[in-house]
Each structure stands twice: as C-alpha cells, then as structure tokens.
C-alpha cells in the first residue's frame, strides 16, 4: 500500500496527464482503515476527533467527506424543533426543510399567514401548519428565503453526472434577496431568528458580494451571538472570504476557531486550512489570544501535515495537560505501528526519525504531568515491546496501572498490552504460562464480550506467537488451532490426531479454549479425508468418511451439487459444455462416490466391463483438476493458506485411477472403435501427467511464456495413427482436436 501523495493533497486532487495513475495508490481496492493497529484512539482521544484517528488513507471510519449538502440536516431539524416547541413532528420539519420546493413553502407561508386558503397537497395533513402560530409564520417566512439561497449555496452532489445542476448561476441577482434578508435581520427580535438571518446574509455575501463585505458583516455583528454551531458556520464563510482575499493569516486563524468550535465542521476546516508561507503561519500564531488557541493551531499542523512530533513538543511546552495531545499521541504510535511487519511486530531501533518520537513519548511519560498519564506509559511500554524489551515494557505497564483513569477502554487497553507482553516474553508455552494467560485470553477471544479497545491486531499477534511457540515445542495440534496451516494436512496422521483432540471429552479449560480457536470443523476434516482416499481408489472408505461428514454438516461444501455429468468423457475437455448440457441425474459428492462404487462392483462381477470401466475412468478423470467436476475436491481444507507456500495442497491431478480403468476398458474392448477411444483417453491422461510434472508442480515454469512445453506426441496418438486411422473415431478426433490433427500431419 504505497502512498506518495499526502492525505491533504489527495482530497483536492484532480488528475494529471503527467502523473497518470497507479502511483497514488499502488494497489487500490484493498481499503485499510487502520483498525488493525492496536493503540486504540477511540480509547484515548475524544470521539469528536474521530475523522482524524490515524488511517492510512483519507478520514478514519468514512473515507471521504461528501456530506457538503447534508451535514447540517439533523441539527437544522433539531434547532427548529426546539424553537417551534417539542410537540412539532420531526417528519414534518424534515419534509419542509429538506424536500419541499421553494414554491410550496411560499404557499405554506401564505396559508399560515391567512392569505391563502389551501395548502399544497403534500402538506395538507401537517399539524404544524394548521396552528397558525406566530412562530410557525416566522419559520415559514425564513424558510421561504432560505430556499431561495439554494440556487447558489447547494452543490447537488448526488447528481454528479449532471453539469448544469452543479453549476452555480453566475448571473444570479442577489440584490432583492439580500435586501429582504437584511430587512428580516434588522427587524428580528428573537435571538434565534436573528442569528439565522445573520448566517443567511453572511453566506449570500460570500457567494454574491465582495469578500470584504462578507468579512465586515461577520465581524461587526459576531459579538452578540452565542458561540454555537451556527456561529461557526457563519465564521467559516468569513474565513473563506479572507481566503479569497489571499489573507491566509486571518483565514487560517478563523478556520482554527471553526475547527475547535464545531465538531461538524472539523473536516471542512481540515480541507480549508492551508498556510502558504511560513510567514502566514507565524502571523496566524501571533493572532492567537491565548495558549489554547495556539494549541489548536499546533494540533491542526500535527494532524493535517503529519508532523505529530513537532506538535506534541510545542503543545506540551504550552500546556502539558492539554487534551489535544492525546489525539497526536495515538497518531504517532499508530504510524510507527503501521510501518512494522504485521507478522513479526518487530522494530530494530535503526530509524532515527522513529527513535526521536519514541524518546519524546518516553520523556513525557516519565514526567507524569499530562491529563492521561497512563496513556503515555502504555505507549512507551507498547513501543518497548516492539523492540523486544519486555522487562521495560512491564515496568511501564506497572506505572500505567497506578495511574489508570476510570475509563473502561483504558483498562482494556492495558489488559491487552500486558497479555501480549506476558506471551511475548515467555521462553516457552508451558502449563504455567497457560494457566497465567487463560483468563485474559478467554476474555480477549470471546466475541460476545463487548470491548471498547481494538482487538483484531492483538488477537492475530497473540495467536501467531502462541502458534509459533507450540510449533517449536512440537505441539502441532495447539499450533494448528491457533493458526491454520495447509502443511499440516499433508499428513493423515496429523488429521487423525487433530480429530482425537477435537473429540476428546473432559478437556481442560485451556484445551477447550484452544479447540474453540480451530478455524475448521470436524466435518471439514472428514470430508477432506474422504476426498483424499477417493484418489487412492479406496471407495469404501471414501463413502464411509463422506457419510460421516454429511451427517455432521449442515449446508457446506460437502453438499455441493456437481455441475456437469461426471461420467462424461470428451475428446476435448470442455467444462462449460458439460455444465450447460441437460442432465437427468445430478450428483453430489456422496452420490457420485456411491455410483462409482456401484460400477466398481459391476466390474468385479464381470458385468458389462467395458462400459463400466469407461464410465468409472471418466469419473476418476473428471474429479481431478482437468475434469468437469472440480467441485468434488473443493472443501474448506483446500481453501486454507500456509505461510510457507500458498498452495501446499495443490489441486488433485493424479491420473492413475483413470489410467487404470481406461487400460482395463482397452483390455476388454472388442471393436477398433472402442480401442481407438481408449487410446485417445489414455493420451489425454498422459498429457495431463506431463503438465502436472512440468507445469503445475514446477513453480519456475508458471507464468513464463518463454518456457512453454514443446509439442509432444503421446503414446496414445502414435497408436491411434498407426493402428486405428481407419476408424470413425479417428476421423472424429482429427476434426475435434487440433493438437491431434497437427500430430497426424507431422
């Protein structure tokens, strides 16, 4: 996941013919929201900062901010409901504010004021409009003007392919509207209404009048209004006006106030805050009335420009107890985590830029003078753990324990870190360790217990560590339960041992926990064993195992219906043709095995040996990778992954059972046509064996166009050509099979 453009830049990025694609994100589609990182921002930092919790791309939790037209829908309804009285139905307000057209609001306003007799159809049942109260009239008067502003203030982003609806009318004459807004603003006595008209007029000035006018109107009136969300919405337009005038100092100062004052506008401030030169930035700092305002600016710099180190230093110097440090610390730790190998979790201590961050966190932790001292100790301990300094980590956690806040999440975070430390520092996974970690492990791995702390990364880490230790101690069953690995299934003894463990009655509490971690089920193992013995032509055992699997399984791979007729044998393998062809009898794994066994029995009894041998050979052929019934071997064990090799359990390509029965058919064949067919089928088997050895099981040759196998003449081809060229089958084969045709013409 290589990223070369900063997050802030990505948000505003349009393409460049020069840049092209592919360099912004080296692999798209693999969305990483950062939640696998262990140091949990949700536990330490205020939720209002959640868009800025560390995520490798864009905003945490929701990606991109596309709420430009809908951000205040909820709060508008709530504000008006408060103004109009708690009995006002929300649904009516939602309709009027968000859906009703300008014309219908005008009609409703006329009706409420007694000037019109009929309400628009869509509003006839509205309780609000039938009251005729003063406040309702004031609301509708306001709303009728507010709707008029949508022509320039709304983006209509939902119609993205519609150019005209996005386009703000450059010829819009705002004078009549502004004059009406000004009039209502001046006359309004109610502070709620007055502030809303103030906002509307400020926004209209921003879009339709000079930037200076918007600034003056904001600044000459702002002192009388409460510092609520609407105040900061208004201020954001004044900030934008400063930005238009290229007064970045003032624009950024205002954006910092907007960022700090309104949670809903934090992402907007992030998008807009943009110092151009160092002088702008210094001048903005100089405008700050107090240290808290400076701290906000430093937090914005740290988060938006990813210089957490500098921000932490500056904020700590201004006020060590500032809660704004918390977000920065979580980001700093998450960024270090992100660069570490997910499997090893190791940091070798060689990166100077990481080291200086780690040293700073350590220094602040030691001073114990922040508002969440336990958090700093946990961060230090956590980073020590990555450096394999488990004793120091334990000491940090002990310090953290003494200073824990009452926050549940903080306690949980410490519990997770201590558990990781205990496991990571243990020389081996013996009974003593198992006993020590059992309660915490049960808590961590039980999904039914709700937790505030992140557990995904820690769970993977702990399971991986335990699996590694058990593997080293030759306790492969425990290892496989904690971390599934294909290699394990290559030996049937392992599977039997695992089955015994899973079936064991009276497991110890630790064994019970271990068995619950196993990724697969008993029926998966039985199904896999049944499939394996099928290829050894042991159909009795295959049937017995498959029956057992079916009896345990609900709906699973064991009950899959095979798509084509597995007894078909073609000149050319064509799975799609077989799958599309009409089929009287549909087979699943078990019914196929039983039918094959039936044929085997008939062959033994000497009944119609040629036909039964041919059909049985076709079935053995079709259940391999080359045949039309690949679904036969598809099961959960095959889908597992190994860290050593992705496909240790390679798709079955064993041709021996098919060869056995084609050869048998050949031996009893009476006509040349029958014999010709047997030779051709045997040639196919020979070809498949060649590919299996040369291509499938030879990883060097895969995907290499330079290493394609040469044209080869199979034994079956030779025999066909020399002995059976007079048969109808031969002619058919020449017509259907280009490979064979080429051979015959050589």
């Amino acid at each position: 996941m290589k990223r070369i453009l900063s997050k802030k830049y990505l948000l505003t990025l349009t393409s460049s013919l020069a840049v092209g694609t592919g360099i912004i994100l080296a692999c798209a589609g693999d969305w990483d929201d950062g939640s696998r990182l262990n140091f949990t921002p949700d536990v330490f930092a205020d939720r209002s900062y959640s868009p800025f919790f560390y995520a490798p791309e864009s905003f945490y939790g929701f990606g991109y901010d596309n709420k430009h037209d809908t951000r205040f829908n909820e709060s508008n309804v709530t504000d008006w409901a408060t103004y109009l009285g708690s009995s006002t139905p929300r649904t009516e307000l939602e309709y009027l504010l968000q859906k009703a057209t300008e014309g219908s609001i005008d009609s409703a306003a006329g009706y409420a004021a007694g000037k019109l007799k009929i309400l628009p159809g869509s509003m006839q049942s509205f309780q609000l409009l039938n009251k005729g109260e003063k406040k309702t009239i004031a609301f509708l008067t306001y709303l009728s003007l507010a709707k008029k502003t949508e022509v320039f203030a709304v983006n209509n982003l939902e119609y993205e392919w519609d150019y005209d609806s996005k386009k703000k009318n450059p010829y819009y004459n705002a004078k009549p509207l502004n004059s009406k807004l000004q009039q209502e603003y001046t006359q309004a006595k109610d502070p709620f209404l007055k502030q809303r008209y103030w906002f509307q007029l400020e926004r209209s000035y921003f879009f339709n009048d000079s930037a200076q006018k918007a600034i003056s109107f904001f600044e000459s009136n702002e002192k009388v209004f409460p510092k609520n969300e609407l105040y900061y919405r208004t201020m954001a337009y004044a900030a934008g006006a400063y930005y238009k005038l290229k007064n970045y100092t003032k624009a950024n100062y205002y954006y910092s106030k907007v960022y700090d004052g309104s949670n809903a506008l934090k992402t907007v401030a992030h998008y807009s805050f943009h110092p151009q030169e160092e002088a702008d930035w210094k001048a903005t700092l100089a405008l700050c009335a107090n240290n808290e305002e400076k701290i906000t600016l430093w937090q914005m710099l740290g988060v938006f420009y990813e210089d957490e180190y500098r921000s932490i230093q500056e904020i700590y110097a201004l006020n060590p107890r500032s809660e704004k440090l918390n977000l920065l610390l979580t980001r700093a730790v998450n960024q270090i985590e992100e660069t570490l190998n997910l499997n090893s979790h190791k940091y070798d201590g060689s990166d100077t830029s990481k080291n200086k961050v780690i040293a700073l966190i350590n220094r602040i932790a030691q001073a114990n003078n922040t508002n969440r001292p336990a958090m700093w100790h946990m961060a230090t301990g956590y980073l020590y753990m990555h450096n394999e300094k488990y004793q120091q980590a334990a000491a940090c956690y002990a310090q953290a324990e003494k200073r824990l806040s009452k926050e549940q999440g903080e306690k949980e975070q410490l519990r997770v870190f201590k558990l990781i430390n205990t496991i990571s520092s243990a020389p081996k996974a013996d009974a003593k360790l198992e006993k020590a970690i059992l309660p915490d492990l049960e808590w961590l791995l039980d999904d039914h217990i709700k937790k505030e702390v992140r557990t995904q990364g820690a769970t993977d880490w702990i399971k991986g560590s335990l699996a590694k230790m058990y593997n080293n101690q030759n306790e492969s069953i425990k290892a496989i339960c904690f971390e599934n690995d294909c290699v394990y299934y290559t030996n049937d003894k392992n599977i039997e041992a695992l089955k015994s463990f899973l079936n064991k009655p009276n497991k110890t509490p630790y064994e019970l926990l271990v068995s619950k971690q196993y990724a697969l089920k008993m029926e998966d193992l039985l199904e896999y064993q049944a499939i394996q013995v099928t290829y050894t032509n042991n159909l009795n055992e295959a049937i017995s195992k498959m029956e057992e699997a079916v009896s345990k399984a609900g709906t699973g791979t064991v009950n899959i219906e095979l798509q084509g007729n597995p007894f078909n044998g073609r000149l050319q393998d064509c799975h799609d043709c077989d799958h599309e062809a009409p089929q009287k009898i549909k087979y699943n794994k078990l019914s196929l095995l039983k039918k094959m066994k039936d044929m085997q029995d008939k062959i033994k009894a000497g009944t119609d040996v040629y036909t039964n041998a041919m059909l049985l050979a076709n079935a053995f052929y079709n259940i391999t990778w080359y045949g039309n019934a690949r679904a036969f071997y598809d099961c959960n064990v095959y889908q597992c992954y190994s860290s050593d090799a992705p496909h240790v359990v390679s798709p079955p390509g064993n041709m021996q059972p098919a060869i056995k029965y084609y050869t048998l058919a050949l031996s009893v064949a009476k006509t040349d046509e029958q014999k010709a067919k047997c030779h051709f089928m045997l040639a196919k088997c020979e070809r498949n064996e060649y590919y299996d050895g040369k291509v499938v099981n030879n990883k060097d040759s895969m995907y290499s166009p330079d290493n394609r196998p040469d044209f080869l003449a199979w034994e079956g081809f030779k025999t066909l050509k020399t002995k059976y060229s007079n048969t109808q089958f031969y002619k058919e084969a020449i017509k259907e099979c280009g490979y064979f045709r080429t051979y015959t013409r050589k």
């Binding site: 393409s15 013919l17 020069a18 694609t21 360099i23 589609g29 990606g63 991109y64 392919w161 830029s353």
Partner: protein, 338 residues
Amino acid sequence: MKKYWGPLLFFVLLLAACQQPVHKRPVSFYFWKTQFALNRFEQNVLREHAVDTLYVRYFDIDYKPEATQPTPVSPIRLDSSITHYKVVPVIFIKNRTFDRLQAADIPTLAANVLHLIDQINKSQHLTTREIQFDCDWTETTRDHFFQFIREYQSISKQKISSTIRLHQVKYKERMGIPPVDHGVLMYYNIGAINGDNTNSIYERSVANRYNSYIRSYPLSLDVALPVFSWGLQMRNGQVIDLLNKINFTQFENDSNFTILTSNRYQVKHACFKAGYYFQPGDEIKNEHVPADDLLEITTQINKNTNHRIGKLIFYDLDSTNLIQYETDIIKKVLTNAD
C-alpha cells in the same frame, strides 16, 4: 518607375525569406486545469505558433472505494475565450474504474460521459468532433476499457483517440491495441517516481528501452511532449508528495533550505513554503526536461518512425512551465522534428 521594381522585388523576396518557416507538423497543447482561462503569455504562445486546436481536460472519472458507481471528478469551467479554438475534450479515467466496473454497466458510463461533455460544450455553445481518453489501462482492465471505447463510439459516432504509454507500446501483445482512430504517444513519465538519480519524467537510457517498438505499433500516432516540471518531496527515502507548478529558485533564497546539488535541496527547519509543508531532513528534487532533451526526444521519434508521426502536443499549457525555457523552444523542437 519601372527601374525600381527590381530592388523592390528583391526586398519582397527577402521579406518572404525572413518569415517563419512553415513547419510541416502541426503543434498543439494540453490544457490541464479546472478553470479554462488563458493569461497573456499563454495567448501569445498560441498565436505565435498558430495553434488552432487545444486538448482540454474536461473531467476525470474515478470509481472511489466508497462509491457505488464511477463519478466525474472536477468538471472544467470554461470561459468564452475557448471558442477561439478547436477543442478536443480529454477525459482522464482512473484505471481502477475499470477494475470495479461490471461489463453490464459500461453502456451507462459511456452515456454519462457523452451527456456530461455535451453539457460542458453547451455552456459555451461549443461543438466538438473528437474525444480523447486517457487511461493507464492494464492487462486486467483492458477489456473493459476497450469495450467502453467501442460503446462510446457507437453512441457518439465521433472520432476517438487515446493516450498510449510507452510500456503499452512495448508490450502491445499483452496490453492490446485500443479500438481508436489514432493514439497519442505519451513520451514521458517513463521512470519510477522514487527520487533516485534518474529523471522520472524523461531519461534517455530508459526511453531507449522502448524506442525500437514504436515503429511497429499499428496505430497512427501523435506525440505528447513534456514541458512541465515538478518537485519530489522525500522523507526517509520515500517520495511523499509531488510539488506541482513550483518555482525552485525560491528554495535557494530561503534559510530554511540548503542546496545539496543543482537539482536537490534539503530542509533545515520545518516550514511552510508555496503551500507545502516541509519537515527538517526532507529532500526536494527538481525534475524537468531540459531543452536538449526535448530535441533529443524528437530526434529519437523521427529515427524510430521514419518521420511517420503526426502532431506534437505539449503538456501542458501553463506559463509557469513555459517560462523555464528560452522563448524559441517550441520553434526549435518543431524545426528539429521536421
């Protein structure tokens, strides 16, 4: 009176000889900003070289991870000065769009694109007769991209061109040939953007790996030439940002930066500069294509195509790019290309 005709005729002939040579090859520019407006400098460049056609980026198309369909990104705003030129709309399609797009949804996308171009044209009463698609398609997306082109062709009945990157020329068997009327060979962005000692925009040794394949490419080709520059901002050996449209001399006169080499600067103190933020230790590398390299590119292209190349299109029309060259650079390149 008659006796004066001789010298006069000579003088007229002399004047004619002094006039600009008529170049065989037409020249054009890409316009790659979201608001169409040209400053005096840019207008002069177009007039001086008799440029009558502009390749104008209309919008991008992206299929963002959180989106449920591909959407246009930053459609251009035109002003009336665009009507002085013939316009070829260029649509940049992010490759990941075709990774996610289902084949069944290709006709809808084509119709949406046609409709949006039509609306943009209507905003200035423009008529366009050709369209260019710019997509760094890959083996996995080529079928959908090509299908999209066919679909667009069937509903628009317009001439369609496509940008072609050098690797798509070299590996044409795998990458396929887009079903377009002609291509524009993007003769730049050939190296990895990693801040090493090679130039990611143009490096002769890298280009040489591709040159011999141009001749056999089965589409007639125009050529896009790079006259842009950018800065690479690097931290801990990784490129973290591209600094576009930036004047590098400003780093030389700022005590927050030290000069490492002729095209590299290092940040001494954290600071904002030109709208970008720099941390101590960051490195900035200036990459651009010097005049000599532009001439070399045209020499190579002629050599490798038997002069069978169409127009030259410079990327991109912006005075901040062009002032970095001598004023006669376009003429020199054209003369060299003839």
